[in-house]
Amino acid sequence: MTLFVDPELLRLMLTMAAPLVLAGLGELIMERSGLLNVGVEGMMAVAAACAFLTMLKTGSLTVAAATAVVAGIALALLLALYAVALASSQLTVGLSIFVLGTGLASLLYRVVIGVTTVTPTTRTLPSLAIPGLAGLPFFGTVLFTQNALVYLALLLVPALAGFFVLTPLGLRLRAAGENPRALDTVGVDVRALRYGAAAAGGALIGLAGAYLPLAVTGAYSDGMIGGRGWLSLMVVIFGRWQPGWALVGAVLFAYTEALQFKLALVTKAIPPQVLLMLPYVVAIVVLVRLYRGAEPPRALGQPYRRESRV
């Protein structure tokens, strides 16, 4: 039993959940406004490369994270430009941005670093023990000795939930994804809202991409996102487009990932590649249940055309 609820395991779980939470919330904001962004994986890759390269050149974690955020915003706005102004198929554009991001991340790294025998590394975000709480038995280790971005991700969940239900802007954003025409009728600019949602979502997705090199590996490698962008899209569906439930989904996926690390340490009988498959197989199993009763925002993926007849 201790194998599955070990405090170190649960601590790792939250550490690995943070990028899924950040990217998941970013995607959630976009989807609630009606924008379907399937390019998350590529956006995170570009953000990861930008963050790592900036970190290497400036040595500042803040500047590195900020660069990644800017990269995330830029790519999300590119998607929004096609989705909002040009009314393109969001699926097609999103997939193109996925490919663009995958290639661009690798290209940026090669152009700046070149071909080296030694992989350059940087220091990573230190863990930040919360005074008074870090000493608690069990929970102290799990919750209160994390890095700053984990705390940020966890705090963003209630903040975003509150934003959606308590503020007028949150209501409008949700309306843009449910019934943009009604919103337009009362004089709210649907396009501006969607661009805004893209910028906010892109910022969080960029931060999620930066998280991996800055907080976990201290290095960049192609394919390091490892499907987390796609998982974050599932997290949104898992969460039924609610931040709180999205957090549950992110934690679930992160648990299987952490468990796989742990199992690799404990057992030598199972080939490591089989363990590495585990999170993806679990994701497929979860998917089977995921769609039952899931109701996306009604205008998700549809361009809003003011002149079109209903």
Binding site: L86, L95, S96, T102, W230, Q273, L287, L290, Y291
Partner: protein, 343 residues
């Protein structure tokens, strides 16, 4: 000008714009890497089209791109996105390699046919998972196919480093398959293999299947309007299942050809993202076999050309992916501009 001629012209403009964007982006990257743009472009074209060896390379690359493009295109005709071509290529390659290694003693040339057939089945079965989940559980095929890409890649890593590993090689590659399981070369000197003819034949088969059969009509009906198709009595679940299996089988064929005609073994990194490029190829080719054929040739030229620039000025292999995506985004841009403001 007639309306049709005007539309043809607009279509042509679109690809010219896209090619121009890619050319300028390419020049930028080359200049950034400190290369001479003009001579780089000359060697780009020369290495992919100018020499027999280069042209053979281009045809060899075109084979998986064309088959992958057909795989994505076929699923798209039914309204689905198969993002798992890379995984299905691996599945086909694994199945083919497994069959060839199991029959290591066989000497009959029919072995190659059998091995390729096993590869096709392998790719089809691997795609049956997203197919069944989509058809009867309405699970989004994009997620399942993406997740299975990772599963297939790890399985390949396991097999190439574990049970099938070539102990003498010291890399993630399997033992060589027997000679009887290999497909013949077209030109031994240039280095091209027969795969391209198989792929071209499949383009014809897919066209016939989609455009000239009852099954193809049902696939198109499903893709055009799923609800109308269901109401009209088309067995949409069964069609969904079948079309995704067929899509996977095409990818599996590509994997089997890479093993039996090119590498003669399973290697990790067998597909450097052919499946991802196949998405773009299908989009650009508008999911039509003829369009996919033309685009996959152009993309093969792009791949082989940038490969030569990798050797001469160190242009990273990933640059090709960026150019391809830029081409698609430019085409989508021109397309959308026309849709928004009809002349």
């Amino acid at each position: 000008m007639t309306a049709l001629a005007r539309r043809r012209l607009a279509d042509a403009t679109k690809y010219v714009v896209a090619a121009a964007v890619a050319t300028v982006a390419g020049a930028l990257v080359i200049a950034l890497m400190g290369g001479n743009v003009l001579s780089a472009y000359r060697s780009f074209l020369w290495s992919s089209l100018g020499t027999a060896g280069g042209f053979a390379q281009t045809l060899n690359k075109m084979c998986p791109l064309l088959l992958g493009g057909l795989a994505v295109g076929m699923a798209r005709r039914a309204g689905y996105f198969n993002i798992g071509v890379d995984g299905q290529i691996y599945a086909g390659a694994i199945a083919a390699t497994g069959a060839a290694l199991a029959l290591e003693r066989a000497t009959t040339p029919a072995l190659a046919v059998l091995v390729v057939a096993v590869g096709v089945i392998g790719g089809g079965l691997f795609a049956a998972i997203p197919g069944a989940l989509r058809a009867w559980w309405s699970v989004n095929e994009i997620f399942v196919t993406v997740m299975l890409n990772f599963v297939a890649a790890f399985l390949t890593e396991y097999l190439t480093t574990g049970p099938w590993n070539d102990v003498m090689a010291g890399e993630a590659i399997t033992r060589l398959i027997p000679d009887a399981a290999t497909l013949p070369m077209l030109s031994v000197r240039a280095g091209s293999h027969v795969g391209i003819f198989i792929a071209l034949a499949m383009a014809g088969v897919v066209w016939l299947l989609i455009e000239r059969t009852r099954w193809g009509f049902e696939v198109r009906a499903l893709g055009d309007n799923a609800r109308a198709a269901r109401v009209a009595g088309i067995p949409t679940a069964r069609i969904t299942f079948a079309v995704l299996i067929a899509s996977g089988a095409l990818a599996g064929l590509a994997g089997a050809i890479e093993v039996t005609a090119l590498h003669h073994r399973l290697i990790l990194g067998l597909t450097p993202g052919y499946g991802v490029m196949a998405i773009l190829i299908a989009v650009l080719g508008q999911s039509q076999p003829a369009g996919i054929l033309v685009v996959s040739f152009a993309m093969a030229v792009l791949l082989v050309g940038s490969d030569s620039l990798q050797r001469s000025i160190g242009l990273p292999a990933s640059a090709a992916l960026v150019f391809q995506a830029l081409i698609v985004l430019s085409v989508l841009f021109v397309d959308a501009r026309r849709a928004v403001r009809p002349s």
